[in-house]
Symmetry: C4
Subunit: 271 residues, 4 copies
Amino acid sequence: MFQSIRHSQWFSNLTTAIIIGYAIVLGIKTSDSLTGSFDFLWFYLDLAITLYFLFEVVVKISVDRSEYFKDRWNIFDFLIISITLIPISESEFMMIARLMRLFRVLRLFQSRPELKNIIDMLISAIPSIIDIVILMFIIFYVYGIVGSFLFGSLPSGLWDNLFISMLTLFRILTFEDWTDVMYEAMELNSLYWIYFVSFIIITAFVFFNLFVAVIIGEMENLRDKSSGSTLNVLGEKVDNENSKIQKLESEISEMKAMLKELVERERRGES
Amino acid sequence: MFQSIRHSQWFSNLTTAIIIGYAIVLGIKTSDSLTGSFDFLWFYLDLAITLYFLFEVVVKISVDRSEYFKDRWNIFDFLIISITLIPISESEFMMIARLMRLFRVLRLFQSRPELKNIIDMLISAIPSIIDIVILMFIIFYVYGIVGSFLFGSLPSGLWDNLFISMLTLFRILTFEDWTDVMYEAMELNSLYWIYFVSFIIITAFVFFNLFVAVIIGEMENLRDKSSGSTLNVLGEKVDNENSKIQKLESEISEMKAMLKELVERERRGES
Amino acid sequence: MFQSIRHSQWFSNLTTAIIIGYAIVLGIKTSDSLTGSFDFLWFYLDLAITLYFLFEVVVKISVDRSEYFKDRWNIFDFLIISITLIPISESEFMMIARLMRLFRVLRLFQSRPELKNIIDMLISAIPSIIDIVILMFIIFYVYGIVGSFLFGSLPSGLWDNLFISMLTLFRILTFEDWTDVMYEAMELNSLYWIYFVSFIIITAFVFFNLFVAVIIGEMENLRDKSSGSTLNVLGEKVDNENSKIQKLESEISEMKAMLKELVERERRGES
Amino acid sequence: MFQSIRHSQWFSNLTTAIIIGYAIVLGIKTSDSLTGSFDFLWFYLDLAITLYFLFEVVVKISVDRSEYFKDRWNIFDFLIISITLIPISESEFMMIARLMRLFRVLRLFQSRPELKNIIDMLISAIPSIIDIVILMFIIFYVYGIVGSFLFGSLPSGLWDNLFISMLTLFRILTFEDWTDVMYEAMELNSLYWIYFVSFIIITAFVFFNLFVAVIIGEMENLRDKSSGSTLNVLGEKVDNENSKIQKLESEISEMKAMLKELVERERRGES
């Protein structure tokens, strides 16, 4: 019975519908005025969804068995549903665990191929990005330490330790009120603008480079594919020509053999 | 008579002139000091323009009849003029209805072909953009719900419900005082910076991807066109060669036949 | 005598040196503490530079005559020097007129060819940019009028008339505290966020498009040039082949003629 | 003995480990609460690292001798270590000198080839960037002087001298609260918005151009390489064809010689 349920279209559609429905209900729940008195109903709805998701996992595992954990999406689902089942009393973690379910919405990506293409492109850009992330981390780390030592005593508390310094540097990277941070630091020493201006120029430059690297990378892929198609037609024509010339060669060598015979006979005939 | 009016150049020029004139008059009207006492004149001007636009629509429909509604620009005009005619007393809606007419300025796009090219390019980028919009909406929705639940109690009221949360997220996307929002949230829990930094990195990454996708898409179009032109010249040359080689083949096979005849005759002659 | 001065290298070098020196002196003059008591000296320096520039123009015109005004840089110089000579007493305009001379620094662009390339690229991007500017102006104009009518009564005075509204829209375009402007407007009607969010999305989209258009345009130029070079080598090889095949054709047709002669002789000999 | 140490793998690994360890320890040191009482330990650690770095330099120089200073990384190391050894009492400079060591982390770039590629790309973009920097400097300089003269008297002190003006212009370039600066200046003269808006448009335009120039430059490199690979295959095929045709030519000329002999013999035979 589980087998027929597992592979039926309506089962997968129902799961999708419940996920979307859950997302919509959660969205409505955010405006307290609307849902104030429905907390009782909400409790049962939440329970029902938990049970349905549990049922879904049980059905899938009992049918697919060891195959189940070979699909990355299934592992993703399993982890999220497991987290929801952990009985945690502290309300905040409980809530976050419950909100984790929302990420099942990302499953919708599977059904729309265009979205998958975008994700694929993002994934193909990851190698260039990892290097940039390493580079950025080193820059943030060095500037973070220098910043902590130079500005750690400032009353704003933006440079209290390495971690907070790195968060402040991220803020500077987004140009968010970075001059306030700089003007405060410049009260210690009027040369400290060098720290901020150099950081902005270096990181802007690195990001800029990331951008160019990804575009060039995509371009290379595109070129390989396209030159494959347009030049191949030409290549075939040239190959075609080559084989014709080869035929000519064999015909001409046959003719040459015949001519040789003629010439020899003539010579013999004369002598 | 309507027919000759409808297809005359001055009629379409007059309409354009009235639209531009209307836009200029409205622009002048925005500085109250200049127009304070002309409200009386303004009333008649407004009436005259309403009547002219009505006259224009009547002329066009009476001539083109069912053809009229096949042009998207005509439907656009018809709707705007209809809205202006609805007698609405409430001043604010009245004003907005009247301002709707301004959008007829967009008609000018038709007359300048370069502007049309830009619009066409924008339209050709829409498929990539729709996918990004779906992706962005999912990200905004999930982050909006999580934000509402986590920060809904904050006094700034920036996370009161899902909609306001999504507007706040749009603000964060533009880096507009996002650290103020973050620092307020971090008073609840110092780990909440993860929410903001992850949102900025993810959305920046998605937008970045949109950008690359559109450039690559345009590149592909360009390549298809251009490789068509430059490689075709080469292709023709190769085709030309191919046909010459074919002629050679036939000549050589004729020669071979003649040679065969010669050889056979010689053999016969000898025997 | 003027002729030899006009075409001598040191004359053009001296002019360049004086322009750069003037820029440096003006730069130093900005820090009042340094130059407080040198106003007397400054007066004579200013007079000397004015006279030198006047001398330069007289030399050039007396030698080049009607040719002088055919170079755009000369017209530019002539206008700036003429403005400086107008005796204007009001100090502010006097100062601006004097600062105009600074723009002669732009002359340095002529001497460095790489900088000229950049300027050329900027100029070649102008056609795409003009269309975008027209499009942006229409968007700013329509949004400016709507903004003036909707928010004209707000106490911040950011929408007082069409011009100020357009300046405010430019500010929103740079994301500069745009939420402050929006939150103020939303106190009138909570739906007014649509005005701001739509403006940001539309203008960002148009700028984005400008960017893509220019890159694609440059790409097209590049492609035309480069496909000219790499494909030409191949094209030459194919042409080379073509001419060889043509030689083969003529040789083979000669051979055919000879064969025909042989065959006919044999036939005659037999009969 | 030094020779075996110098070329052993563990020596270079140990140096890398000490550099990374030093960076981590410095990072921990930034949070004062953790390290308050360890200043004594820290003193000895610092001494140990100074001695190790000194030892490393001595080993390398004693083995490589004059070769040592031919590698740019070695010069970089040598300078940093020399600075650390200068006995400077003033605590702030002491600290900065010590922090300089952190830049040895950049050595890690050598070990990861992908990072080296990124650095190479950055370096290859430098020619385009130098021109832009010159252009930007001229724009900043001219706008800085004009700004100092026009707004030098403003109470905010953002235009006090040329240098501060240029820092303020950098701030405007990042859109950081630039409207505050503009609104202050517009109190002097309501036309001064032209200064700010023109500066933003010009610099945005120049940066935009830098971006396009670098992408196009990289594209050109890519094209040269790739057209080298895909077209070469075709080129080889065509070359191959060319040599076959050459063989045909020689065969045909041999055949022609034989035919000529035949024809001459026949003619002689007849006469």
